[in-house]
Symmetry: C2
DNA sequence: TGTACATCAGTGAACGCGCGTTCACTGATGTAC
DNA sequence: TGTACATCAGTGAACGCGCGTTCACTGATGTAC
């Protein structure tokens, strides 16, 4: 409890943290400005010293999430170097791991209905996260015979889609039937089969 | 305007339809009981003659959605018979096509936070939809050499995840960068690569 | 070090709003005789 | 066919609630001299 600085200390971040916890616990709908203020031991009106309103809080949650996400993707990419394959697989894994470690951020980014285009800073950092995955895909595509090489942007999108789908459908308590595999294994296997389809892994292992 | 039957005619379904339109236009959050009632030209209190409350309306939207979805999956499966491969590909395509044709239902089913387990009828029909995809996967797995055959439930989950991811990320105006491919093509290509990875398509085309 | 003043983060009361839900009711429809 | 009655879908008024937002304010902190 440092509580240093002016009055509260760092109310802006305290509100963001409260919002993230609320979003994580009750979904994007469950978050209210008033409740976040209460969680930060502050009057709802105080929020307006730091944010324009409710929307800006969610947007900032998402922005910080994209920042962390982009960093983790970058680190995953580096961890796999110099192997293009290892880098690519690591970024796929990083997606799921991010969703697990930062559920509040994840929901703010992908399920809150926040408009990435409408917030200047948001768009930039979202693009940065995306570019890591695309770079990994581009590296990898060098290893595919040019003739049958699909655009890197395309299979980066495939991996992103499969990762996102696994998170949404199987890494939460969510709808439909629960599949009896840990999401990590499911994604790992899926990416493996996909890469074999690209001719990047031996046909049988 | 048949307006037959008692008073309104078929208020229950009129409310569901209004709810679906609202959900489609404003997202799962945008739907309110009061607004649905107004759209059906009825007092909010009238809703309680037909539903226990707000939640039950959304659940019924989702239920009807799963019903349509299961039917379409079934039809897609049949359309591919007797080829296991054609059936499987068709069910994958049916997913995206359903999301396009019935956006309100889709959102109610997958983005409204409705709990499939909590509503008896919902769970059953969701399982029916899922079982079609799993049957298609099981058929297909017969064509994979037993030694390297992954469980059918697993690659059914992969295709479901990729389909869902493509819808969520690229078939809406949603987050991140927009990929310059029509979602249908993206999904088709992704499934193709994946099936090649399973050894079910020729390695080069 | 001490005093006077400016800054500005957070307060507390108030607002209008639309929400979901309840209740006693009304009056159109269906049915029995 | 006509009348009396039962049913029950929808009404309209009311409720309590929590929301986001505004406003004039207060009083702790930082700063100039």
């Amino acid at each position: 409890m440092p509580k240093r600085g002016y009055h509260h200390g760092n109310l802006a971040q305290a509100l963001i943290n409260a919002a993230l916890r609320l979003i994580e616990e009750k979904g994007p709908t469950g978050f209210t400005l008033s409740e976040a203020a209460k969680a930060a031991d502050v009057t709802p009106a105080a929020v307006y010293r730091h944010f324009q309103g409710r929307d800006e809080i969610i947007a900032e949650c998402a922005r910080q999430g994209y920042e962390i996400f982009a960093d983790q993707m970058e680190r995953a990419y580096q961890s796999g170097q110099p192997s293009a394959l290892a880098s690519f697989e690591a970024t796929g894994r990083a997606y799921l791991s991010f969703a697990r470690q930062h559920p509040g951020h994840y929901v703010a980014m992908f399920e809150s209905g926040v408009n990435v285009q409408h917030h200047a800073g948001l768009h930039a950092v979202a693009a940065r996260a995306n570019s890591v995955l695309e770079r990994a895909a581009a590296d990898l595509s060098q290893h595919i015979p040019a003739a049958q090489r699909p655009p890197a942007q395309m299979f980066s999108a495939h991996i992103w889609a499969m990762s996102h789908g696994v998170v949404e459908l199987f890494a939460r308590n969510s709808p439909g039937t629960n599949v009896p595999y840990p999401p990590e294994d499911l994604l790992e296997a899926g990416i493996g089969i996909y890469l074999r389809g690209l001719g990047l892994l031996a046909p049988d292992r």
